[in-house]
């Protein structure tokens, strides 16, 4: 079955990205396919490569990144929601003449159309709100 997930909570602030991550691992383990994980609202912070939790805590952006690498996942951060909140890749940083960028490997910035497309093509769209 084809799943997509939408995540609206910021990591370390609400549990929603933790739940979504565990859910993603479980569905992949069962052999389902994960079409896309779409990060919207405060969920965009899941893509910050600058997240620096203490060594004895989970690093959610890094976990997503590893999972994406293992399974070739499409982790999409809504570009409009991301730019507002300071989530930039090199291209956007250059475009808006900002001093730096902070997108974790494995994530891409893209339009809200990716949420709608995922909703259309997936058998199940699961929202993890905060």
């Amino acid at each position: 079955m084809i799943f997509s997930l939408a995540i609206y909570g910021a990591p370390f602030s609400s549990q929603s990205s933790d739940t979504a991550y565990q859910f993603a691992c479980a569905l992949l383990e069962q052999g389902h396919s994960l079409h896309r994980v779409f990060f919207y609202h405060d969920g965009v912070y899941n893509g910050s490569t600058l997240a620096t939790p203490p060594q004895d805590e989970r690093n959610i952006p890094a976990s997503w990144s590893q999972l994406a690498e293992q399974h070739g996942l499409d982790l999409v951060i809504c570009v409009a929601a991301g730019l507002r909140r300071g989530m930039l890749d090199a291209t956007e940083s250059d475009r808006w003449e900002k001093p730096s960028h902070n997108l974790e490997q494995g994530f891409t910035l893209s339009g809200l159309g990716q949420l709608i497309e995922a909703t259309m093509v997936s058998d199940r769209m699961i929202t993890f709100g905060n």
């Binding site: 079955m1 799943f3 609206y8 549990q15 929603s16 739940t19 565990q22 859910f23 691992c25 479980a26 569905l27 383990e29 069962q30 389902h32 199940r124 769209m125 699961i126 929202t127 993890f128 709100g129 905060n130």
Partner: protein, 100 residues
């Protein structure tokens, strides 16, 4: 048939109530995150839950129960599942609606 997810405690949010008001008979409800407090036995919700159980299957995410120290205080009739069980439920119902 819909599987509803509820992630808020019933003691400060309308999520559970709204979800139950709307859910058609035989649809499922899974309590996750702070929503697991809805599953507590011997609270002011006992009647609401027992009525709901006559219309719906209610599930609760066990890692979230365990984390909150209430794994042994779950109302009768509510079934605990792990993440794998949560995924399976999502496949058994036609779609998933989130209440948060």
């Amino acid at each position: 048939m819909i599987l509803h997810t509820v992630n808020r405690s019933p003691f400060g949010s309308d999520c559970l109530q709204s979800c139950l008001d709307i859910a058609t008979i035989d649809s499922g409800v899974i309590l996750i995150e702070d929503g697991v407090y809805c599953a507590l036995a011997n609270t002011e919700l006992t009647e609401l839950i027992s009525t709901a159980l006559t219309r719906h299957k209610i599930y609760v995410l066990s890692p979230d129960l365990q984390a909150r120290g209430i794994a042994d205080a779950v109302a009768e009739g509510i079934e605990a599942v792990d993440y794998a069980g949560f995924v399976e439920l999502c496949t058994q119902f036609d779609k998933v609606v989130s209440w948060y």
